[in-house]
Structures are given as C-alpha cells and as structure tokens.
Symmetry: C2
Subunit: 513 residues, 2 copies
C-alpha cells in the first residue's frame, strides 16, 4: 500500500463558484489606502527583502490553498523579528491600514487571506526554534515554524508535538495556535488551550504582550494568552509560543477496521476506550463513500478490506484506530483484548493491523487522502461539526435524504472527539443545492446542541452562522473583547464576529444602492 | 498505617500575627454602604433563608480556614439559582456594593474572604449535578458542588474528576475553576484550562454569559470562558460548568520511595517518565523535615521507611509515586522495570509499595498531612513556586541559609509539575524573619524564571509580588480586561491586580494623613 502523502492542490479552480455564493463583500471605507510612503516605511523597518509587491507572489498569498477565497492585497510583509512585527502594526494602527496575519495558509474558512487590499503579514520568516528543555519537554519557538519540521526536531529528542494534522507540511505553529487546531492527536493530548504554556503576542497597536512562561503551572492572574488561542488573528498576532510536548511513544500501533453499521462503530469506540485505555491515541472514522472516492482518485491505493465473500457488499463504515504507548508487549496484549471483544459480538467485521511504520503510514494515507479525493471529485460543500457521538452520523443520512440527487453526502472525522466532517460532493455549484443545505444544516446542528465549527474556525466563511452555535451573551462578550484589543478593527477584518460580517453586508448594501 | 484524612483546622489562631504584616488596608470609599433597603431587596430575591445576618455564621464566612484573613462583612447571601445570582449582582452593580464570591473557602491566599464590608456571595447552595453523559464522560454541574461528592458520583459511573487536592472534602467546583486549581492529578490529566469545556458565568452587572457547551471541540470564536478559569472571582461569578472527566483507572498503584539526594530524586523522575510512561499519574516529593513534622503531629503515623541499618541517618528526600492504568498486570511489569532501573544505580535507597487501597491512602495521608503538621508546629510562611525542576530544591537550601536560626525551611510539592511548596516554620512571627524572606524569595524566583504562584493564586496575599512573575504588558492587559468586565470594580476588590492593591495602599495612606 504505497501512497504519497497528501499535499494541498494549489490553485485548483474547483471552488470558485462556491465562494460566489457568500454575501457580496464591500471594503470598509474607514480603512486607509496604502500609499508609497507606507511602502517606504515598511522597507525601512523590514529591508527590501521583507516587503513583497511582486504580482505573482501576491497572487499566491491572496489565495487560499483551495482557491476558494481571493483577496486583492498589494503588499506582503515578511518580518523576521517581534520588534519588526510591532513596528509594522504600530504604523498600520496609526494609519488605519487593515492587516491579515498569515501563516501556512492551509485553513478551510478563508481566515488567512484578505478580502480586499488588507496588508498581508506573513510570519513564515520567523521560524527559529528558540529553546527546548529535554527534562520538561517544554519547547519555545517562533510562530512561523512549520509543524512538520518542529515535530521532526522533537522526534530526534524523543518527544512529539501534541498536535498532528494533514496539512502539517505547510501549516505553521502560529497559525495552529491562532486557529486552536485540533487534528488527529487531540483525543490523547488534549487541546492547545491545555498545551500552550505561554505566548508572545503583538496587539493591533504594536504593543508586545509577553506571557512566554516555560512553566507547567502559573496561576499569576488572568490567563490572557488563552484569548489568542483560537483568536484567528483578530485580537493579536502570535509571534512566539511555549508549548508542553509529550514524550514520543516507543510503541505505536495502527489498525483499520470495518463495521456493518454506525452503531457498531460506536460500540467499537466504547470497547476501545475500555480495553486500549490510556494508550488509545486516535479513533477516526469514514464511510464507504469516502473510501470509494480515495480509491477512485488515488490509483496507488487499493481497498485494504475487500469483502470476505465474492460479490458481498462492501462494508459501510471504517475505523482507523491508533495506540501510542511505552511498551509494545503490553500494548499488543491490550489490542488482543480489544479485538477479541470487538470480534466476539461481530462489532467489527474485518480488519488489518499495520506490521510496520510503512504500513501504518499507508493506513493513515487513506484517512488523510479523503480531503484531496473530494476536491478532485467536483465541488465540495465542507462542514465541520461537533455533535454528541450518538447523533453524529444521522446528520449525514438526513443530509443525503434532504438533498436527494443533487449531491452526495459523505461523513468522516474524529469520532473519538465527536467531530464530524460532513462533506457534500456535487458536479457543480447550484443555488438549489445550497438552498437545500443552508441554513438547514446549521439548524439541525443547533437542535442537537452541536457546534457549527469543531476545529476549522469561523474565518470569513462562518461568522453569519455563529448564532446557531453560540449564545448572544457570549458573542457580545467576544465583540467587546475585540473592541478592547483592536479598537480600530484593523486586525483580520470582516472575519469571526457576526457584527463584522454584518458590517461588511451593510457596507455592501450601502454601496450597492 | 491508619491515619485520618486531612481536614482544615478551622479557626486556629496561629496565623493572626502573620496577616498583620500585610499592607494596612483601607476601605475604598467609592463603594456604597449596605442599607436595610438592600437587605430587603435581597430577601425578596432569595427568600429569608438565603440572606444571612447571624453574627456567628458571618464570623465563619468572614474568615479563611487558616484564620489568617479576616473580613467584616455584615451580609452573607446564598443563592440557589443562576437567575438569583444575576439579580443580586445587578443590584450590587447598580448600588456599587462590593461583593466577594465564595466557595468552600479553602484557599491559601485570602481570595474568598472580604477585607471590609463586602457582601459575601456563597455559592454552596447551588450544588446540583445537572447532567452526566456516560458515553463522553462530560459532566455539567453547579458551582457549589463539593469536589469529593462529585468525584464519588463519578466513581459510581466509572469516571474520575480530573482534579484532586487535599481540601477536596470542602472545596467547591466553582472555586476550583475560579482558582484554576492544580493539585495531585495535573501531571496526568492536565490543567482545568484543557478540561473545562464550558461555563455559565454571571458578570458584575448581572449579565449571564452562557458558554456551557458539552462538546469536546468547539472553535466558534474566542474562548471567553478561559478568562474565568483562574479569574479568582474578580471578572465574574462561575455558576455552572461542563467538564471533561476521564475514565476511572482499573489499576492504581502507589509507592513511597526514599532518595539520598535531590539529584537522585530528579533522576528517579526521569526514570519514572521513561518506564511508567503513560500510566504515571502523580510524582510528589517532600524532604525529611516534612516527614519529621508529620510524625511529630500525627501519632498514628510511623516512619514508613526507617533506615535499614540501626543508627544510620534518615533519608533526606521522599517520593510519592502513583500510577493509574487500565491493566494491573501491565502496570506491575512497568513498576518492576522502573524499580529495577532506580535500584540499579542506587537512585532509590529504600521504598514501599501499597498492597491495597487502604495502604495507598495511608501513603497519601503522609503527603497530605504535611500542611496540617506545619500549621500545628507554629507560624508558617507559605510560598508556592513554579521553577525549573533542576533549580527546585536549591531555593529551599538557599532560604535556610538566608534565614539561619530564625526558622526552618522545608520543601514539598508536585515535582512532576515543577511546583515547590516552600514553607518556613517558626515559633512566632518576627519582622526580622519576614525581612529576610521578602522580597528576596520573590527575587530568587524571578531570577530563575519561575512563577510566584504555581497554583494557589494571588488573592489578597500576592498582588504586590505579581511584577516579579509577570511582564508589565501582561499586567496591563489584565487590568484592561478587569475594567471591561467589571467597570465599577465591585467583584472581589483589592485582590489579584497590583493596581487594586496599590489603590488599597494609596487609600490607606491618604486616610492615615
């Protein structure tokens, strides 16, 4: 099972029509226009190399990897130090120039690309590892470090980054923190709200806030850094982070299992928690349609679990289960107990366990290949919900029933975290399909006390839907925090907050009349 | 080894002289005086039973368990619903009446008792468990639930609360969250910033902010609840919480080990992480002086590890190591490997492993008996530092050297978290001893990039010392958040923020002149 790792298909054209259905945006006229004096100022701060006006480079930075969101920025800045970030932002604040902080630009909600002529502040040149303590496992690094490189650095020292996700080859730590990325290891290591120990952040007016403690415990007043974990770059720009990293597991085991129903998948999850206990590190699921798409678009991948009898129908659900422990012998015994329990009641119909790291990577490649396969298959409506696990797959079924022949609904995601990636694949965008999906899909989620964004964030895609998931009181508190920390609203405007989105619509309507 | 569990020695007189050394406080004249109309209003909201003016009951609520801090409140309110909390706070905000939120009142920094006539808002009557999901392990409960009772409720269902501490019999969940309590299980389950999934909080003006999601992942905007985790009741009053609880371990093993040096204790920690791996759940340490104090003040406890040769000196350091796993056989094998590695290099000199739950409780009773033994032994200067583990015990040695015969410095705490409880025991309070200790001990900590409060918080004891541990930029951000959320400063005044403390001093000086 040799498969190549997933890489974002840059500049694919498949998404363009979808973005056209978002509210027609208009530039907020309170922001200043960039002048040649501004550019000269930035050149003075960053040097010529740190100020990019080249059209081709700007085209890439103005567009997300899905080619779904398109900005019109005329300036890309690449600071190398926190002080440079501070001086840039102080100037933008003074001048009322809007700014989009950008990391690896691998997000799914348009959070890291401009809508209009916002200045792009790309952190990629700040990629130093500042320190690593091999006793405590505490890492300090700059925001622009790429996740995969940091993980490789840690692996050499016997540790792992407490976060893993498909885009690891391009995403940056600052972006991971700013989006509170979840990914594949959350089940085991918890969220970044627990693992980020300290941050250095530059506020909209250039103030550098230093909470960069390398201590596991620090109860000295409000934990202000938490606001920037998942702040999506609208409250401040993360420039450095201190992160608690766990020891690298000596024994890692990966299996792909097939179930006859989603109910069986849930039972298998309960058995896995019971028998694999503290070594369980991932419990992912996908349905047969996902696997079919992967098989269709990745010729190197074959069905790892063909039906045992010729002509029998394929299994409808698949589980990717991983353990990470300190003792292979013990973990193998735990796997034996789990698989015995799962087989006894035919909870699991079929399965394969990776015999080495290459096979394990092959199994992961199927799970991680779903996103790309969907992108290759047509247009995709991507949703990312948290739901009570018992309701999780019913949303996929209800969606299919609702859209009928207009599209194909598929479900995959982090079952262990109650996180469903609902995707609807269709040959082309249609108003009819979108009208069937929204706001119905958000209403369904709200009725089941779910979240409209488990891990992707809000960006420019979902501020309008926020009220389906968050109480007005919490949204008002968010808005007052935004006004406090960024009174001129220059940081990543038109995103996250519904009133920012409302403002965009209102401005749009005003300009249209 | 039969020992009784630790309970706070209420109303001991040993601390009074120490509190006298804090800056002489004066009441902020901007706060209103309580009137009979106010009391009638509260009676209308809470009923007669929820409004306490009895002198004896007030005396208890005005005083912390150490009898170190003494308020003069004339009114104790005991709401039963969030709506009542909201109506009470709206009235206090309107009237500018200062309020102290209070849970189990088991803190160590005077955070939950008034300084003057602040109204005490005790959450103890809000003690319902709202819901528990046995699939996800997500609990929703009211703030006044007592930790030990919640843990017992969870244990019956196969789960544990992700927090454990000596005061569990009296502390409340709302107080635990408001102080971001750390305790004995943090090494394994992480901090409450990761485990609290949602909160219901009432702001100073009575606004109820609802972020009470029962989802493991929810990236829908700023994680505003985090401000109240460790906010010490100065930003809002926690009324309900959703908490992720882990499954109860089937196998728990506890050992007490003796080392010949602190360096050996550190080596043992490294070996424990290596060999006990994912099942390691606590790694506590204490020095011989601590054990001597426990033996002196608890006649039922005997030295669990007397020197193997008659007349040999006792061991200078002790470790309490705990594992919690899903398989006793596997965990025993891991313990064998750990103890073999630790014995091989004489890293550990002696040890005992509990054979049953009673013996395990007996070993824990030694560790948890240290606080009470110190309290019985004279006056105590209590400090709570986070430090790099390699520097941890040197502070105790340097402190002893600095104070000479004026007192006895002892060290214990959560070695696995880098958390030292430095305590100085003395027969009586003396200006000379205090002057030797402060600010030197804070300076020492700052020089070693430590934290002046690992887990106890700031309360009224440590706002003055905050600048040793936190950058001005972060303190300014804290202050602006306080002004935003509590513009009249009625919530838990004179605490946490240095400028609140400064204001207290300034008012004091002004009144003195």
């Amino acid at each position: 099972m040799a498969v190549s790792p997933w890489t974002p298909p840059l500049q694919s054209q498949q998404w363009r029509s979808y973005s056209a259905s978002a509210p027609v945006p208009a530039r907020d006229p309170s922001f200043a226009q960039l002048t040649s004096d501004d550019v000269r100022f930035f050149q003075g701060v960053l040097g010529l190399g740190g100020v990019v006006t080249d059209d081709d480079l700007l085209a890439v930075a103005n567009t997300d990897w899905m080619n779904k969101y398109h900005g019109k920025s005329k300036l890309l800045l690449r600071p190398r130090t926190t002080e440079q970030v501070s001086r840039v932002l102080a100037h933008c604040h003074e001048r009322r120039l809007a700014v989009v902080p950008q990391g690896g630009n691998s997000g799914l909600v348009g959070g890291s690309v401009p809508l209009f002529d916002e200045v792009i502040l790309n952190l990629g040149a700040m990629d130093r590892i500042v320190s690593f303590d091999e006793v405590s496992g505490i890492l300090v690094c700059e925001a622009g470090c790429i996740l995969e490189k940091v993980d490789a650095y840690l692996a050499e020292r016997g540790f792992v980054f407490p976060l893993d996700l498909g885009a690891k080859g391009s995403c940056q730590i600052g972006g991971n923190i700013s989006t509170n990325a979840g990914g594949l290891r959350l089940l085991r290591y918890g969220s970044l709200h627990g693992n980020v120990l300290g941050l250095e952040v530059v506020l909209a007016d250039g103030t550098v806030v230093d909470t960069l403690k390398t201590l596991r415990k620090d109860n000295t007043g409000y934990d202000v850094k938490q606001l920037f974990v998942g702040g999506e770059g609208t409250l401040g720009v993360v420039t450095q982070a201190a992160i608690l990293t766990p020891p690298k597991a000596r024994a890692v085991n990966v299996a792909l299992l097939a179930c006859a129903s989603f109910q069986d998948a849930l039972t298998a999850f309960r058995l896995a928690k019971q028998e694999l206990g503290e070594v369980l590190s991932a419990f992912e699921f996908f349905d047969r349609t996902c696997l079919d798409l992967v098989l269709k678009h990745h010729s190197a991948i074959r069905d790892p679990l063909p039906p045992e009898e010729d002509g029998a129908p394929p299994y409808p659900f698949y589980l990717l289960v991983e353990t990470a422990g300190s003792n292979q012998e013990h973990d193998s015994a735990k796997w034996d107990a789990f698989l015995e329990a799962a087989s006894a009641g035919e909870v699991v119909q079929n399965g394969t366990i990776a015999q080495d790291a290459g096979q394990a990577a092959g199994l992961w490649a199927i799970r991680e290949g779903i996103t790309e396969s969907l992108a290759k298959n047509g247009v995709v409506y991507k949703y990312d919900f948290s739901l009570p696990v018992t309701d999780l797959y019913r949303l996929v079924e209800d969606t299919q029933q609702r859209i009928g022949p207009l599209g194909v609904a598929v479900g995959y995601g982090h079952l262990g975290d109650g996180n469903l990636h609902l995707n609807v694949s269709a040959p082309a965008y249609s108003d009819a399909l979108r009208a069937r999906l929204e706001p119905w899909v958000y209403e369904w989620t709200a009725q089941h006390r779910g979240s409209i964004s488990a891990e992707h964030g809000l960006g420019q895609m979902k501020p309008h839907a926020l009220r389906y998931s968050k109480a007005d009181s919490a949204i008002e508190l968010m808005a007052s925090l935004k006004r406090l920390l960024d009174p001129r609203g220059i940081l990543n405007p038109y995103k996250v907050l519904p009133d920012e989105a409302d403002k965009r619509d209102a401005t749009s309507k005003k300009q249209q009349t």
